[in-house]
């Protein structure tokens, strides 16, 4: 680098926190302190304590393979993931993430030793502050993720799995884990369970009910004609079955939970393994619904912080340019016809939406007043954003805040794909008539319950062959992929111990479209 250039760059920053690309622990600390002042005093962020861990690229690959968690039980699929990422990385097809951040208390933030000091600054702002604030405040994380306990639980899980391996053999453990992994997307509670009433509560409710019956007793009802005998019989047996089902807690959408609790032939340790898979899956459940917001929040925060550091003269022009280069490649959104296209880039869309919220708060246009009367021109962008970060998930965030300006910016359009027709149809584009349709369609695209098949345990034939009956509720005629469905059912049958049947039921008409069945394979 020509010397004069470097000098000029340094001159502009009055008291840079660092110069040159190399980082050291002192400058990490200085940068962190400077960011902390901005984050707390100016942006009003609220974060968990942070632990920054410096790692090598190989350790980063390790972290990739255990799905970003610092420790994980052993399973071949993690080895496969490692091999996959390693090959891509060594071939140069894929760079590594600059950071990985773990939603625990304290938040653990991995940074790579290869990063330049500017990148480390960016990463600290992005992960240790952006993601961190989001982890601590978003309602889904607060409801579902036990940030204090996750690391302890994982270490328990790892030890438990290896103890089982010692005792029952690698293969036996692997079979259970394989099967449980196949169902892990259906091993989450989507709603918090109602707490079971205790005895006193139950007593009180019975009393209340009786009192109500006594108070409303009317002899007139006795004269109403009764059902004939055999009608009553079928109704009674129906009722009995219904009773049985409700005792089993059916219908149940958490397949792993049901199997763990009810499968007739599992050993205790197998149930515990299923439980481990289920708990890990549950930990990731909010993450899947918050990708757009989480990345958007972190990207918005790092952009804001880096600019403010620059305004205060704490980083040099050179660093700022390096940052902008990296930032713009992070928020790059290729169009649908670009070979690089693979869906919406959560960084790009999230960042654009949040920046637009800020613009609307500060410099609203007449259009914004029409679409967002409650925030347009309110002058408190960070208050609005903090509210959004805390109380929305991807689906509701898009539905609430996707503005016409952002739709126009990305030229978003909606096409309908009806498999019975030979061609696709453009339903809505980025114009006056289309904004609202595009917005609600995109929001649906982020809705996890639509992205993942809606599968529930509906019945168990307890009096007969103990067959477990699952139902896939088909919406808009979208069926399951046949090949994977059959293999997953085989796994399910292994766990259940008896045959498993899956019915594809059209949700609107209750008509059964297709039936799969899997018997237990001899071990």
């Amino acid at each position: 680098m020509p010397n004069g250039f470097a000098d000029a760059a340094q001159l502009r920053a009055e008291m840079p926190l660092f110069t040159g690309p190399n980082w050291d622990f002192g400058s990490l600390r200085r940068v962190n302190d400077a960011i902390e002042r901005i984050a707390f005093d100016e942006l009003g962020l609220d974060i968990y304590p942070v632990q920054i861990e410096v790692i090598t690229s190989e350790q980063m690959l390790d972290a990739y393979s255990s799905v970003g968690l610092p420790l994980m039980y052993h399973h071949w699929s993690f080895g496969k993931r490692f091999a996959y990422h390693e090959t891509l990385y060594r071939k140069g097809l894929q760079g590594l993430a600059y950071e990985i951040v773990i939603n625990s208390n304290p938040v653990i933030c991995y940074i790579m030793e290869e990063n330049s000091m500017t990148m480390q600054t960016l990463v600290i702002a992005h992960a240790a502050f952006g993601h961190n604030h989001f982890f601590k405040n978003n309602y889904l994380f607060r409801q579902w993720t036990d940030a204090d306990g996750i690391l302890d639980y994982l270490s328990f899980a790892r030890d438990y799995v290896s103890k089982c391996e010692e005792r029952y053999g690698l293969e036996a453990v692997e079979r259970v884990l394989d099967a449980a992994h196949a169902l892990k997307e259906h091993g989450v509670n989507r709603y918090a369970h109602r707490s079971r009433p205790n005895l006193a509560e139950e007593q009180r409710r019975t009393d209340e009910r009786r009192a109500h019956e006594e108070a409303t007793y009317n002899d007139l009802w006795r004269t109403v004609p009764q059902l004939s005998k055999d009608e009553e019989g079928t109704e009674a047996s129906e009722k009995q079955k219904e009773e049985l089902r409700s005792q089993l807690g059916l219908p149940e959408e958490n397949l792993l939970y049901f199997i763990e609790k009810r499968a007739p032939r599992l050993e205790d340790w197998q149930r515990e393994l299923i439980r481990i898979v289920r708990n890990v899956s549950q930990y990731f459940y909010p993450q899947k619904q918050l990708q757009l917001m989480n990345e958007g929040c972190a990207t918005f925060v790092h952009y804001e912080i880096m600019n403010r550091l620059h305004d205060k003269g704490l980083i040099t022009e050179g660093s700022m340019l390096e940052f902008l280069h990296s930032h713009s490649s992070v928020v790059f959104q290729p169009g649908f016809d670009d070979p690089r296209f693979s869906g919406f880039n959560p960084y790009a869309l999230g960042f654009a939406m949040m920046s637009d919220i800020r613009r609307m708060c500060e410099k609203p246009t007449p259009e914004d007043h029409e679409y967002f009367p409650e925030i347009a021109g309110c002058g408190d962008p960070f208050g609005v954003l903090r509210h959004a970060w805390a109380n929305y998930r991807d689906e509701s965030f898009v539905l609430q805040y996707l503005s016409p300006a952002v739709i126009r910016h990305f030229k978003i359009f909606q096409i309908a794909d009806d498999s019975s027709k030979p061609s696709l149809r453009v339903e809505a584009i980025h114009d006056e008539v289309g904004y609202r349709r595009v917005r609600s369609a995109l929001s649906k695209q982020y809705d996890l319950s639509r992205r993942e098949p809606d599968i529930q345990v509906v019945d168990v034939d307890l009096t007969g062959d103990r067959c477990l009956i699952l139902a896939h509720y088909v919406h808009d005629g979208v069926l399951l992929d046949e090949k994977t469905c059959r293999s997953v059912l085989r796994y399910a049958a292994f766990l259940w111990g008896y045959a498993v049947k899956l019915l594809e039921i059209e949700a609107a008409t209750d008509k059964t479209l297709k039936t799969y069945e899997a018997a237990v394979e001899p071990a």
């Binding site: 942070v50 071949w76 290729p334 670009d338 453009v426 114009d431 695209q445 098949p453």
Partner: protein, 429 residues
């Protein structure tokens, strides 16, 4: 904020997962390795290899929607030309379908590609090969033993006395039994002297008794007691013979073409890699011969050109000479590999047979004879005419199970031949 430097943490955290994965995909990986070997050059046999295996055994299925059924909406960016109501022909690929990222869960992929390390690759390659008679040799060598430290003992020769351990015991005992230190005795003596000069009788009496008590105690409690003494203990462990020497014998006379030499070279290299995996130390001796034999370095061996007649026995003699001089049989595992086009000076073949059968083979763990052809595939050998040397060696082979002979016509056969030679469960020519 807290900064932790995790870089010094032990590497290979996911190693056990990787082993599990390789174990799971063993069959597929193995066939991929064989496939890869057919294509690669011997020169890079030692490198890792990128292998692609079918996803069958390692797929992780989950329920997912079949995108070709029902009605779905796609919301995507980058509209350039479309307006509402446009009909677009259905793209054949996944374009515009909210494409799934190339995912590690293997769905929709035909092959899973990853890189094996050199170690893993060679493990797979040599997995079902073994060195014949390896065990026999190490049993025969019971004379070679190694001494290994094995704690301490209370008996032993003075040369094995462990001074630190002995003194440690002694010190512990002295402290426990309160043996007076030399300085304490001296102090008592000095105090006694002072009292004597002062002339205080009662004090002199008390100090004298004290002094005597200390003196006596230090005599009763020895500085080093036999029970303190410890000797270093050694176990005699039979030492496996981990040294091997490999003799590469090659005919470099005019009749050997470059292609033949290349074949021979490939064979020698494979053998070398194989031996280095079994033995800690492998020496290689290159002997080339025309009508005379000489020991040369690797470069000369493979690349220099010679002309002249062919007398194979000279090479065998040279090998014997070197083995006797430098590689005594009780310390070295001796391997021989000979490559030739099969030509020999007429009268020499019988001498070769007697040399080989009588002297060379008894010396060797294993001796392989590879007859290289000119790359014309099967026609070079077989039906028409066996070479002089081949016919001669055929006499020796039946009596010696550790002698093997094979013909190689083109590079593709090298691996197969090598596999045949070292396949587990016995070698037969």
């Amino acid at each position: 904020m807290n900064i932790v430097d995790r870089r010094p943490n032990p590497k290979g955290k996911s190693l056990s997962n990787r082993q599990r994965f390789l174990g799971r995909a063993r069959v597929e990986v193995k066939s991929a390795v064989q496939e890869a070997l057919r294509k690669r050059k011997v020169a890079d046999v030692e490198h890792g290899e990128k292998v692609a295996i079918p996803t069958r055994g390692i797929s992780e299925p989950i329920f997912h929607h079949n995108r070709r059924t029902g009605k779905t909406d796609h919301v995507i960016p980058g509209n350039k030309e479309y307006v509402r109501g446009d009909e677009i022909p259905r793209p054949t690929g996944g374009e515009g379908q909210g494409g799934r990222e190339g995912s590690p869960d293997g769905s929709g992929e035909d092959a899973f590609e990853f890189t094996l390390t050199r170690e893993e690759f060679l493990d797979m390659f040599f997995e079902d090969l073994e060195l014949p008679d390896l065990v026999k040799k190490s049993l025969k060598d019971t004379t070679a033993v190694d001494l290994q430290r094995a704690g301490y003992t209370v008996t032993g020769t003075p040369s094995n006395l462990s001074v630190p351990r002995t003194l440690r015991n002694s010190m512990g005992r002295r402290i426990a039994l309160r043996r007076p230190k030399l300085s304490e005795i001296e102090a008592a003596q000095q105090a006694l002297e002072e009292a004597r000069t002062a002339g205080d009788e009662a004090e002199i009496d008390r100090l004298t008794r004290e002094f005597e008590r200390l003196e006596r105690r230090s005599k009763i409690i020895p500085y080093i007691d036999p029970i303190d003494v410890r000797y270093r203990r050694f176990d005699r462990v039979p030492k496996p013979n981990t040294e091997a020497v490999m003799f590469c014998l090659m005919d470099v006379s005019g009749s050997m073409t470059e292609a033949m030499k290349d074949l021979a070279k490939r064979f020698f290299m494979l053998l070398h890699v194989f031996l280095t995996r079994r033995y800690r130390h492998v020496d290689v001796v290159f002997i080339r011969h025309t009508s005379t034999a000489e020991e040369v370095d690797e470069e000369t061996f493979f690349y220099s050109r010679e002309t002249g007649g062919t007398v194979v026995s000279t090479a065998l003699e040279k090998m014997l000479e070197i083995a006797r001089a430098r590689y005594p049989m009780d310390r070295w595992n001796i391997y021989g590999a000979q490559a030739s086009d099969g030509d020999n000076y007429g009268a020499d073949s019988s001498r070769c047979v007697s040399l080989l059968g009588g002297e060379v083979l008894p010396l060797c763990q294993y001796f392989a004879y590879v007859e290289v052809g000119d790359g014309m595939g099967g026609s070079l050998t077989g039906l028409s005419r066996d070479s002089d040397l081949w016919r001669a060696y055929s006499e020796v082979a039946p009596a010696h199970p550790h002698f093997a002979m094979r013909r190689v016509g083109d590079p593709a056969q090298i691996f197969t031949v090598f596999h045949e030679l070292f396949a587990k469960g016995g070698v037969r020519a």
